[in-house]
């Protein structure tokens, strides 16, 4: 703590220096402020008419450019005709502007000229934009420099007037538009507040916050709390959340009609301050068609950076499953029907087909078999596959009538120290990650855990013998559980490899560790994340694994590389959970910025962005057929997503606290969710997806009406005494296993 206090002056110094480094931003507009729009600025040279003419021309150009950008071709033509302008000179200034901002890319160019446009339309009184032509007379680039984020200075006392003016307007607008335009409140509020803070109007900023923070949607409370603490310019330096807010554009989706309405209003009122913010910091995705309703908007909003852009979800996702390798099922194992040897394979085959009928002939939605190089199957893997199929035949077909039994594994005496749990696919082992930096592995079958013998002992073994695998194990070390020591901070994620030979664990210490379950020792510590790693998971085919943490980057690793193969960057908050798609070609990450992203493992591109959660996402689950994704967050809601269309298709309300565990049953009929509220809930996933599949998507506009049918879909709620549910797993026969640690208080 003392260090904190000491460091404070240093920070301040830096901030002061920094403030000085942007002289244009703050000083430039100052002399211009008193000037009124009606008379030409006093500072301008004598050649007034010429200047004005040029200014007008520029205005026109800017208008044209703006219209073009918004694809208002007709208006462009009309304006051109009226102004008698030639067709060519429109591209140049825009690109220059883009260069001027430097790094902010095309978006800011857009905003730069647009704001220039408005300021002139309005009569050129507004500081930033108007000052530029006054200074040099000709150049757009200067304008954009001046307009670097938040440096414009309107009268700070007027901010409240502006905002309440807009509020009044939106409240008076027709109902159908009101909901859409209300989306503007939050981003505008934040940016206006930050602008005030940035320009050192602390008291105005506070007053502004006090006055309008209550109007914001409740799901922004967390962000508002962060904002409320931030009252000084130097605070903005280190705050990543705010930095993100500044650099990334808040995305809004508004119908064309509503947008026009807004634009007209702002132009009439000459409300440049707001218009500037809209142009600079918001990305308004305009669509044609009916304005959306409040509930439609609410279901999609809530993320840190607004909704996903439509084009973000346009890429094709190969969500189909990979073809299962053909494995001969040894028939001699089937003792019951030994005489019916002919009938057996036939019986077997359809069964297998029903699980992966697409695997017979290539599923059009499936990626190519070798799109991602996958490890070859070993003999032991084949054996395991056979076991899997055998078990699968005994699987109970679940549905609303036949609910699964739930076996709950309670961790006792952990004193709130259990942080992560995983089961092996065959449900024979449980791993637990603990806050005391240990990882513990239990065997839940009578088969005890044994280590491999030491090297000296191994050399004595007859390697030709049939039971060599049995002989290498050291019987003396047999025990029900083993403890793995190595991490130096709480273990937040554990994951078994599909072949049960390895275990991954990720920890607060910034490493991901790979453990051998043969020797129960650590094999590798993957260092890459310098901050806590919140989650890690093995690919369903082994070899690859993904990790994500506080550094906002998800990394894809291969077990034999000490450096990551892919880095998935794009989230604006901590990556809280990571999941592999069943076909191993995609990785889903959930984040504290309240979005879910789907990444292509092949090229590292982000192919889907899902918004709609109102809190950090703490659990993800792919449906077994790979088509859907379920996600759970701290707000207790579970959302269902269609990967192919990139749409939200369901909302499951019921939990009252963070959903930490989600799992589909083996055939995808039931979705189980486990939460901090001490319940396991079962949902009718089949029905949830079925309802949607029969409807055809209005994919063009990208929004659908969600039926509020959580209560119909809820099949069961099972309360534990005082055990938050932090992991769920369906055995191969569809028995549900749940795990959590008992909380004595």
């Amino acid at each position: 703590m003392t260090r904190l206090a000491v460091s404070a002056p240093g920070e301040k110094m830096a901030a002061v220096q920094d403030g000085g480094s942007e002289p244009e931003g703050e000083k430039e507009p100052q002399p211009e402020l008193p000037s009124d729009g009606s008379s030409a600025p006093a500072a301008t040279p004598a050649s007034k008419p010429e200047e004005q003419q040029q200014q007008q021309q520029q205005t026109l150009l800017a208008v044209l450019q703006f219209l073009k950008r918004n694809k208002l071709i007709e208006s462009v033509d009309a304006l051109r005709r009226e102004a008698g302008l030639a067709d060519e000179p429109d591209e140049a200034p825009g690109s220059e502007a883009g260069g001027g901002v430097g790094g902010a890319a095309a978006g800011s160019a857009d905003s730069a000229d647009a704001s220039a446009l408005l300021s002139r339309v309005a009569g050129a009184a507004q500081s930033g934009a108007a000052s530029a032509p006054a200074k040099g007379g000709e150049d757009q680039p200067d304008v954009s420099v001046v307009l670097s984020a938040y440096s414009q200075q309107g009268d700070p006392s007027l901010y409240q007037v502006y905002y309440s003016g807009l509020k009044k307007f939106i409240e008076s607008v027709l109902d159908c538009h009101r909901a859409e335009l209300s989306q503007l409140f939050y981003p505008l509020f934040v940016h206006m507040y930050l602008e005030l803070v940035y320009n050192n109007h602390e008291s105005e900023a506070k007053a502004f916050f006090e006055k309008f923070s209550g109007d914001q949607e409740c799901y922004y409370q967390d962000d508002l709390r962060v904002l409320s603490g931030l009252t000084k310019k130097e605070h903005m330096k280190g705050n990543e959340t705010l930095l993100d807010f500044r650099t990334s554009k808040f995305v809004l989706r508004i119908s064309r009609d509503s947008y026009q309405l807004l634009k007209r209003h702002l132009q009439e009122r000459q409300n440049n301050q707001i218009w500037n913010i809209i142009q600079e910091h918001l990305y308004i995705d305009i669509f044609d068609g009916m304005p959306r309703s409040k509930s439609q908007i609410d279901s999609m909003s809530g993320s840190l950076a607004g909704e996903a852009r439509r084009e973000a979800n346009k890429a094709k996702v190969f969500y189909g499953l990979l073809k299962e390798p053909e494995i001969e099922v040894p028939l001699d194992d089937e003792d019951e029907e030994a005489e019916n040897e002919e009938g057996k394979p036939k019986k077997k085959k359809p069964k297998k087909d029903s699980m992966g009928s697409k695997s017979k002939k290539q599923d059009p939605n499936a990626p190519q078999q070798n799109r991602i190089p996958l490890p070859e199957l070993k003999d032991s893997d084949k054996l395991d596959k056979i076991m899997y199929m055998k078990e699968a035949t005994k699987r109970i077909r679940l549905g609303p009538e036949t609910l699964p039994s739930i076996c709950f594994y309670t961790f006792l005496n952990v004193y709130q120290g259990l942080t992560a749990v995983d089961f092996t696919d065959d449900s024979s082992l449980i791993a637990g990650g603990f806050a005391d930096s240990t990882v513990r592995v239990w065997s839940v079958t009578p088969k005890k855990l044994r280590k491999v013998k030491s090297a000296a002992d191994l050399s004595l073994i007859d390697k030709e013998s049939d039971d060599v695998l049995e002989r290498i194990m050291d019987e003396k070390t047999a025990s029900e559980s083993k403890i793995l020591y190595g991490h130096s901070g709480p273990v937040y994620g554990v994951s078994f490899s599909p072949d049960r030979n390895y275990l991954l664990s990720s920890s607060e210490d910034g490493t991901v560790r790979l453990w051998s379950l043969q020797t129960f020792t650590c094999l590798v510590a993957y260092k890459g994340h310098n901050y806590p790693v919140w989650d890690t998971q093995f690919s369903p085919y082994g070899y690859y694994f993904v990790s994500g943490g506080h550094d906002r980057v998800a990394r894809l690793w291969a077990t034999d590389h000490y450096q990551p193969l892919r880095m998935f960057a794009g989230h604006l908050g901590d990556i809280t959970c990571t999941r592999f798609h069943p076909n191993s070609n995609y990785v889903a990450t959930g984040s504290a910025d309240r979005t879910i992203r789907l990444w292509d493992v092949l090229n590292g591109h982000c192919v889907r962005v899902f918004t709609g959660h109102k809190g950090p996402i703490h659990s993800l689950a792919f449906s077994p057929n790979g088509k859907y994704l379920a996600s759970g967050s701290t707000d207790g809601r579970v959302l269902l997503w269609d990967l192919g269309h990139g749409l939200m298709i369901g909302e499951l309300k019921g939990h009252t606290d963070t959903v930490y565990a989600l799992k589909f049953s083996r055939d995808g009929e039931i979705l189980a969710s486990g939460s901090m509220d001490n319940t396991v809930r079962l949902w009718d996933a089949f029905k949830a997806f079925d309802d949607v599949e029969t409807d055809d998507f209005t994919a063009a506009t990208g929004h659908i009406h969600l039926p509020d049918n959580s209560q119909e879909l809820l099949l069961g709620t099972y309360l534990t005494k005082a055990t938050p549910v932090i992991h769920l797993h369906f055995t191969r026969r569809n028995l549900l296993l749940a795990a959590g640690s008992y909380n004595s208080q």
Partner: protein, 642 residues
Amino acid sequence: MRSACVMAEERRQKQCSVVLPTESMKAMAESVGVGQLQEDSCVALSEEVSYRIKEIAQDALKFMHHGKRRKLTTSDIDHALKLKNVEPLYGFQSQEFIPFRFASGGGRELHFYEEKEVDLSDIINTPLPRVPLDVSLKAHWLSIDGVQPSIPENPPPATKEQQKKESTEPLKAVKPGQEEEGSIQAKGQSATSAEVKGKEKLRMKPRSTHELSVEQQLYYKEITEACVGSCEAKRAEALQSIATDPGLYQMLPRFSTFISEGVRVNVVQNNLALLIYLMRMVKALMDNPTLYLEKYLHELLPAVVTCIVSKQLCLRPDVDNHWALRDFAARLMAQSCKTFSTTTNNIQSRITKTFTKAWLDDKTQWTTRYGCIAGLSELGADVIKTLIIPRLAVEGARIKAVMEGPVVSNIDKIGADHVQSLLLKHCASVVAKMRPAPDVMEQYRADFGYLGPMLCSHVVKARAQAALQAQTVNRTTLTITQPRPSLSVSQSGGVGGSGGPRTPSIIKVPSSLTLMSTRPATPTQPSPPATKYIVMATSAGAASTQQVITLSSSQSGSPVTSTVPSGSTSLQPLVKLESGGGTVAGSRPLQKYIVVSLPSSSSSSSSLEHKGGTTATSPVTIETSVKSERSESPATHTHSPH
């Protein structure tokens, strides 16, 4: 600096930005040797520090979420500091609480970290604490084919609220089903919370069938048999089960009928022991926090009232201590009045009326009279004040008639005697509060008639005791809040399930105390706090000395005997608890505790005499003027006549 931390977090729920007071900055600056800190610097510092603290708190929350906890711990803060590349605070590793103490005074609030000087030899000499249990894994069925089995690992199938809903709003329980169908058809946009609840209840409904499962039937049989059986250990276990088990509500109607029928039969047969057992069952049911008893009061309350006012409760009214049963039942009644009385059922006023009516009747027997008075006086000081005290004179005359008049019957005399002591016991403290200090014998006689002089001496004693209590409370900082101090130290060895930490008991005895337990209860919980007995020597005149005996529930099998002899006064031991396992001739394996209390030299101190075994006791004088000696169950006062 650390103190600031806590304050900031406490106030963080306020949306607007809260800043630490500049005084804190000054205080902290002084603590690190910076003397004159400018006001401006203070302001700047405090704003900066507040912001940073908030930042750290936000990061710490992240760690809490990922740690799957609801409580922020000090380690979360440490990790958050680490994230910012700040050295964490070492030495704040406590899991459960933040070791800050709060103090306020003179308009200033302060959180400080209390650092005591620790004598190392103390640490070395104290026995090592128990090693915490290792992490273990336990599996149970949360659900079988979609139905949650009612096993101890699972929560009770229906919460108290649900039980209440079902009983109070039977119509609504049906309705939601129809509503729900309607909502499906309408595909209603907004599922109201009522609908949601209705749905859930609809799902709960089939589970609350009126047929008991085989296991439940077995359980019911076992429990009821144990409750009225002869084995005290089993009974204790059964009562414990009734008082704590969460899944009993389906059996509640059976239990209630069992009790009411049992009382009806046994009152006729004058079977005192069984009545006592049944009353203890009622007590256990009332103690169970998961049961919604309101539904069955119509059966339970009459049974309890019967045990208070019945003319005859035992075969030999002159010998058997049915008074204790009446006292116990009266206490039960008071408890149920307190918990269940509402404006609609008016239990308290109805009960009061019943008692008063019976009491006012001249022909009422002494036993019933005793019951009525006991029942009324347990209802509280107000009731005593308004109903009993005005009638003291009349009652005194009646007692006088029996005591001094011609000997009618021994039974009447005993009855009158009991009524008298009961009246004195309850009225003394109330009168002490009502009347100003100088207690003049004559005045009392004038006001209360025959009972006046005795009441006067009681009041004097009550005053003295109150003063003494106030004194001790003032002097010592240690306050133990316990509503009803109990003397029931009966730990039947090996009774499982009693996991909860034992509550400290206060035993006030005028002399020394010998506590002896042969088999310390084996705690099932990791480490229950050692039982503390606070012994106050209240010998007349001597300044009250106080000793604390800590009975550590040691793991060793050897008996723990702590004897604390009182200072100089030569008084005999009053209460002695010892294992009677060997002394009782019976072959029963259970332990018996014999509470022996010898009358002390001081005049009207309490004297309890209980003996195990079958020998009948002589008429006991239970002069429970010392309130703390009131026992939880009448069984300690009486013994079964079998």
